[in-house]
Symmetry: C2
Subunit: 417 residues, 2 copies
């Protein structure tokens, strides 16, 4: 039944694979981490704020306690990029994941503004566009929230599916969105998607969009994806409190030592702050000052992000070039070509993603586990692989992607044998 | 009925009060904040870690993601002071209150190691030694946990009361402790108190001590209060997982930009870390490096704390001197004479604390609200006032304590009229 052609192609791929494996490499494409060269761009932070400098624009001593909602200068810099009015944007600690965690905890224990009771007293569900971000799913799972998947399109989640689900099921309280240069497909939500999300009727009166705008300013070229202002769209549609916006400088300055943000309607900010104040006296304001000095304003931020793009773009180009050369026309793979963000999503023939990751691992290339892009780590089609090209140096990345492509060929032809 | 003596004393006090009020002062004794002069001691941090310095002892690039449990060098510095083996001590974010919040949330949602189910599914109670720390009580209240008070003695909570309560009531899952230079009395737990806490039989198998060792190294003189190693005592008594230890550098370096700690048994650290990793990728490790460079080791820490004492001790001395001069022998007040920490606890005649705070406010001296030292802000005896002497400069503090003493006299004699 198997054509001689496939047998030959498989044999050739297998031969390439053995040769690759024999090189005994150790390469890591698992996580979306900035490369050291990107971190170097922010090394000025290592000596900031500088001798004797510890006051905010209004004269507050930022070394001391207080300032629960962060320093306004920091909010100003990111207001435009995150599309949240500065007065409703709170600069907080070093991890947006922690802000999302806390927001979820507040909602579970107290319900949300205008809502109907605490979420912990109800069986609740979140919609998870897939492929998506594994840490969103892990967080949701940890708090016992049921996850229902929705397919991603090039314009964001499939809104016909979303609208039908939220209209018919009052247990659906939330949806995870990475609206710009989405993790991992790189898709940015179309205006119509944002409008529909903002306006759609929901059976749950206390439905919330968890809008993780992680890559808001992370363009690869001067051609930027721009998304609709979701807070404005929600307000216009009569749902002013529907959206929680999250963001951070993690992939702007130092990944582990940045500033995270919470933004929302004035009512939601008040709701959030009321709980925040029970669990902390305030964020690290000196680190915010450091960032203000370094980034200066939204223009400074944009210039800084261009330097990132200079480092990152050639890596995305290499991924595109090698996948095209090695997999183009084989019918064994499709992949995304994002204009920003941190990932390329690679789709292989159904039932082979795990096999590809396994083969790669044996050959010394660590990939994000197959299935990680889906809730519970379970990609039912076993098809999607997330490529994180930023961390390795270009030459190593090229080798790793060569190896990955070989693994895709081996697994793909293997299946046809 | 009223003796002429009291009438005269009241008239004199009232006269002093009006004179004080006429000065139109604006002084703040509300919170235990370090003074700017104390913050200045750590100004080196403003330029650390320094150009090109971003690696830990083991060569890790601390700018990037990762390092969920903080950098070991930072744990080493505080292991001795917090009495937790460095391997079981996690340096985390900037606020120990946030670490306590998260620990409580993990316990509520998941139960604790060796426990019987999630705490949110049960009506649970925490014991609160009083007078105590208002932020503990606010946090506990926010999560719907019932609070039962236990009187503080000079040796810590009244252990006869504690033992009887925890032995007889399985809903009691925790107790808040500030074991050294307690907030606000300044009392340090006696060895027998620690031993009894560690060993006492509890009806709840999953009982936990929330051991907020906030003032572990905050001595006022060279004569240090030392407390028993509670983790060792608990292990010895066969309750190795009973204690969660918290601490921070908030009153060591910059109050808002420090490093907080979680410490416990190896099993509890594993329990804690398992949840921590769902809500963050890691703490600000560059800030930890900064602290390691600055404090160096436990000896460096001790030397640094002596500089704090040089600034803080004269303020505590002034409080003691003025209260003695003005209130000694009047029978209207007793107060504590701590050898460390941040507070003096002042007891006035039953039913007059609120009145004193009110009078002080009218005269321009802001005090922590009467009742704040008790759960729900309710001091049933209306007797305890917390004095926070650290923040004002000495000359202003002296004026404020003079004013406070006058208010105590007014309220005290008023009651006898």
């Amino acid at each position: 039944m198997t054509s001689q052609n496939v047998v030959d192609l498989h044999a050739k791929a297998r031969q390439d694979y053995e040769a690759f494996k024999a090189r005994g490499l150790k390469l890591d494409l698992t996580r979306g981490k900035p490369a050291p060269a990107q971190l170097d761009l922010s090394n000025e932070l290592l000596t900031l704020p500088g001798e004797g400098l510890y006051k905010s624009a209004d004269g507050t001593d930022l070394r001391n306690y207080g300032g629960l909602t962060g320093i306004p200068e920091m909010a100003e810099i990111f207001a435009e990029g995150l599309q949240v009015p500065a007065a409703q944007l709170l600069p907080l600690g070093n991890a947006s994941l922690a802000v999302m965690h806390d927001t979820l905890v507040y909602a579970l224990f107290n319900g949300v503004a205008g809502g109907e009771g605490r979420w912990i007293d109800q069986d609740i569900t979140f919609l998870c566009p897939v492929p998506g971000y594994d840490r969103h799913f892990a967080l949701t799972e940890r708090y016992g929230i049921k996850m229902v998947t929705v397919p991603m399109t090039d314009e964001g989640p499939d809104m016909d599916v979303v609208e039908e689900l939220v209209a018919g099921d009052a247990s659906i309280k939330g949806i995870w969105c990475v609206p710009k240069y989405s993790n991992p497909t790189g898709a940015s939500y179309g205006d119509e998607t944002v409008r529909r999300l903002a306006a759609m009727p929901t059976a749950a009166a206390d439905f919330r969009i968890f809008w993780d705008n992680a890559y808001a300013v992370h363009h690869l070229t001067d051609e930027h994806d721009e998304i609709l202002d979701v807070l404005a769209a929600a307000a216009e549609a009569g749902n002013p409190d529907r959206v929680f916006v999250f963001g951070s400088t993690s992939k702007v300055t130092f990944a582990g030592s940045g500033v995270a943000f919470f933004g929302s309607s004035a009512a939601n900010v008040k709701w959030f702050t009321g709980f925040l104040g029970k669990g902390t006296i305030g964020p690290d304001k000196i680190n915010q000052l450091r960032h203000v000095q370094f980034l200066k304003d939204s223009k400074g931020l944009a210039e800084h992000m261009r330097k990132h793009a200079e480092i990152v773009k050639p890596k995305f180009d290499a991924v595109e070039r090698i996948l095209s050369e090695r997999l183009g026309g084989t019918g064994l793979a499709t992949w995304t070509q994002p204009k920003g963000g941190y990932f390329v999503s690679l789709d292989v023939p159904e039932g082979t993603a795990q096999r590809v990751v396994e083969l790669a691992k044996e050959a010394g290339v660590a990939l994000t586990p197959a299935g990680a892009t889906h809730p519970y780590g379970d990609d039912p089609a076993d098809r999607t692989i997330r490529i994180a090209p930023t961390f390795p140096v270009l030459s190593e990345l090229e080798v790793a992607i060569e190896g990955l492509a070989t693994c895709v060929l081996v697994a793909g032809y293997e299946k046809q044998l």
